[in-house]
């Protein structure tokens, strides 16, 4: 049973924490959201030799009691408001929860829902009445009931039934200070004893001092897993870089994964616009001059596309801002401020 194992600590990468704090400190009011990541069991540094069989059973039993698990927070979703996936009693709204975690935790065992967070300005750094209730409801849900049941991921995941019991609380000091201070505290909600256990936070940062950390840390990016290297796992790293054009080795793969690969390949091809890797050979030799012109033309088109995209983003941002203003007005109207 691994559904209420104690955590030793909670690890979060510097950029993830910074981005979380930024989201909170730039919002006008209080915010909440979900935390994604995975649970790992680092190899203990002090492995003992089994020279004394009589004592080894005792020492191993002691070791199993002491917490050795680490929860790694790799990404988050910030709702931008409070009570985004629960009601005033702290009971979960499952459909809202699924909506919030869309795109995260579905099919990636490295990115499962492992907890939630609240950022509330100028309040004590202690869980509130409602936060207790939300954590209690959230950590009593197993992945199945939360509709994250992807059989393959559960079989791969090291701790499939580990509940989303991590709670991160962000705040700022009660009194105004000259120095901007961001307070945060992490807890693990223990189902068996119904208590919040404060846990230390390991901020994994970039730099030589943290090289050791990164050895055990597996960073994640949102970039999709490209099927380029799917053909042969036993092959050398250099061969993995080759693009699968002749799909003769994929025969053993199921039809489903073939389709998936084909779909991703099509996506790649449409971006390449006929400039597939095979043509790279033309960069040398007699056709090089023509080819360079073609490539430059492609780059020009790409830049134009990017500019168009930037303009689209700008327009939609303006719309979002306008809507946000409208919302504030409506809210003020409801609370009788107008």
């Amino acid at each position: 049973m691994d559904n209420d194992l104690p955590l030793e600590k909670i690890a979060i990468s510097g950029p993830t924490l910074a981005s979380l704090i930024q989201r909170f400190s730039s919002s006008n009011g209080d915010v909440d959201g979900l935390l994604f990541g995975h649970v790992t069991q680092p190899t203990p540094a002090n492995l003992l030799d089994d020279d004394f069989p009589s004592s080894s059973s005792i020492s191993s039993s002691i070791r199993s009691d002491s917490p050795t698990l680490v929860a790694n927070i790799t990404s988050f979703f910030c709702s931008g408001t409070l009570s985004s996936f629960y009601d005033s009693l702290g009971q979960l709204n499952i459909s809202a929860l699924n909506r919030c975690s869309l795109g995260n935790g579905k099919d990636d065992q490295q990115q499962r829902l492992i907890g939630w967070f609240v950022g509330r300005r100028r309040t004590p750094l202690r869980p509130s009445m409602r936060e207790f209730s939300v954590s209690s409801s959230l950590s009593s849900k197993t992945l199945e009931t939360l509709n994250f049941s992807q059989n393959e991921s559960i079989s791969i995941s090291p701790f499939p039934n580990f509940p989303p019991c991590v709670f991160l609380l962000l705040s700022s000091p009660l009194s105004d200070q000259l120095i901007h201070t961001h307070d945060y505290r992490a807890f693990q909600f223990r189902r068996s004893s119904e208590v919040f256990e404060p846990k230390s936070i390991d901020v994994i940062n970039i730099g030589p001092a943290f090289r050791g950390h990164y050895g055990a840390f597996s960073p994640n990016s949102q970039f999709p897993w490209l099927s380029c290297a799917m053909k042969d796992f036993s092959s050398s790293p250099s061969r993995e870089m080759e693009i699968v054009s002749e799909d003769d080795k994929g025969k053993e793969e199921s039809l489903l994964s073939l389709k998936k690969i084909a779909k991703e390949q099509r996506g790649l091809d449409s971006c390449a616009e006929g400039f597939e890797v095979g043509r790279l050979s033309k960069l040398v030799g007699s056709e090089a001059v023509n080819y360079t012109l073609e490539v430059e033309d492609l780059y020009g088109k790409m830049l134009a596309k990017l500019e168009g995209l930037a303009r689209l983003v700008e327009k939609s941002s303006a719309l979002v801002l306008e809507q946000e203003r409208c919302n504030i007005k409506l809210r003020n109207k409801v609370s009788g401020l107008e």
Binding site: S83, S88, T123, M129, V334, S335
Partner: protein, 378 residues
């Protein structure tokens, strides 16, 4: 009173907070009020409440959200009460009141915050009782189990870091409405006398447990009727428990309250007896009859007489202070005499006789006061 303009409290929150402060039978106070917004207008949407509990105050932070005014507030309890989880307690007791308050939250109904705070306070008492029940102290377990039938008892653990751990009981005494006993009383809150009993927590069962520290507690307003600190407490005998002690102290207290209420009548009759001699009093305390001021003159010299009546009246004679209406000191305030108590008095006299003797005394004393006034006068 919190006004909606200063500090900027959104009207809906202000309405709920004001309703709580004015309608609660408990005298709840706001310690601090502030805003959780980043941008102006800095709407104040969070505050610290001081809530009377067990003859002390508990501090709770009520956190609304100005951005989400429709949502019920959240509460952060004090650091010492981190294990207080109202939802679990109300679920154990199969009580749905807390759930109902929060489920039917209506931001436009000003009474909702009061309902929430009162319900939480009830659950807080349950939590404290449970905490004490879990202590390994046989005597406290016994005390808790024997006072179940009495209503309104509050308990809490006193765990100051530098002191030994104690358990405090607050027991409301006498099931009578003091406000109704005093005719025309102006008390805003229902007056209640409490017995505070503080037990030390002992880990082992001892044959001769030490007596608890006991003290009567009443509001400062109650002093007008009778001074509660003067009540002599019956002794706590060896091996006694609260269930035995409470009827004894209630008897003592009951007699004293009846006497104190009767004493109001005696004081009123005395003040009324002043009228035929001095004329109608210029000022008089009509509820407790502890003060009266009359106008007096001797020839052309006019002065005021302030009479203060203690709760021990007529055993203790009134304290007289004379105030001249013709002499002023260098600060421009009227010259006052020192308090006068040294005049003929007997508690056995009838009220008209008392008034008469004071009148006679003043007829002579006013000459001294006139001289005193002329000396002080510049």
């Amino acid at each position: 009173m919190v006004t909606a303009s200063e500090p900027m409290v959104p009207p809906l929150i202000a309405a709920q907070l004001n309703y709580l402060l004015t309608h609660s039978p408990l005298s709840i106070k706001v310690e601090q009020i502030w805003s959780g917004s980043k941008n102006p207008p800095f709407l104040s949407d969070r505050f610290t409440l001081l809530i009377p509990f067990c003859l002390d105050y508990i501090k709770w932070d009520v956190i609304y959200n100005a951005q989400n005014p429709l949502v019920a507030p959240d509460i952060v309890f004090s650091a010492a009460d981190e294990s207080f989880h109202p939802f679990s307690i109300s679920a154990e007791g199969h009580s749905h009141s807390l759930k109902n308050v929060l489920c039917d939250w209506n931001c436009k109904d000003p009474s909702k915050l009061l309902l929430l705070i009162h319900e939480l306070r009830v659950l807080y008492n349950v939590y404290q009782r449970k905490k004490i029940g879990q202590l390994d102290d046989e005597r406290l377990k016994f005390e808790i189990s024997t006072i179940h039938s009495r209503e309104g008892i509050e308990v809490c653990m006193n765990s100051a870091p530098d002191k030994a751990n104690e358990v405090k009981f607050s027991v409301p005494l006498l099931d009578i409405d003091l406000n109704k006993m005093v005719h025309g009383c102006t008390w805003k809150h229902r007056q209640q006398i409490f017995l505070q009993v503080i037990f030390p927590i002992s880990r082992k069962y001892s044959l001769a447990p030490t007596a608890p520290r006991i003290k009567l507690v009443g509001s400062s307003e109650l002093k007008a009727l009778f001074p509660i600190e003067d009540v002599k407490l019956p002794p706590w005998l060896d091996g006694m428990c609260m269930a035995e002690y409470l009827p004894i102290i209630e008897d003592t207290l009951n007699t004293q309250i009846v006497e104190a209420v009767a004493a109001i009548g005696a004081r009123r009759r005395f003040i009324e007896a002043l009228a035929p001699l001095f004329g109608r009093p210029l000022e008089a305390d009509p509820v407790f009859c502890r003060k009266a001021t009359v106008f007096a003159c001797s020839g052309v010299f006019t002065f005021l007489v302030h009479l203060s009546l203690s709760t021990q009246f007529p055993k203790q004679q009134p304290v007289l202070v004379l105030q001249s209406s013709q002499h002023f000191n260098s600060q421009g305030t009227p010259v006052m005499s020192p308090p006068l108590t040294d005049y003929p008095w007997s508690p056995r006299w009838e009220e008209p006789k008392m008034a008469e003797r004071i009148y006679d005394f003043l007829a002579e004393e006013c000459l001294n006061f006139k001289k005193f006034g002329s000396l002080a006068h510049v």
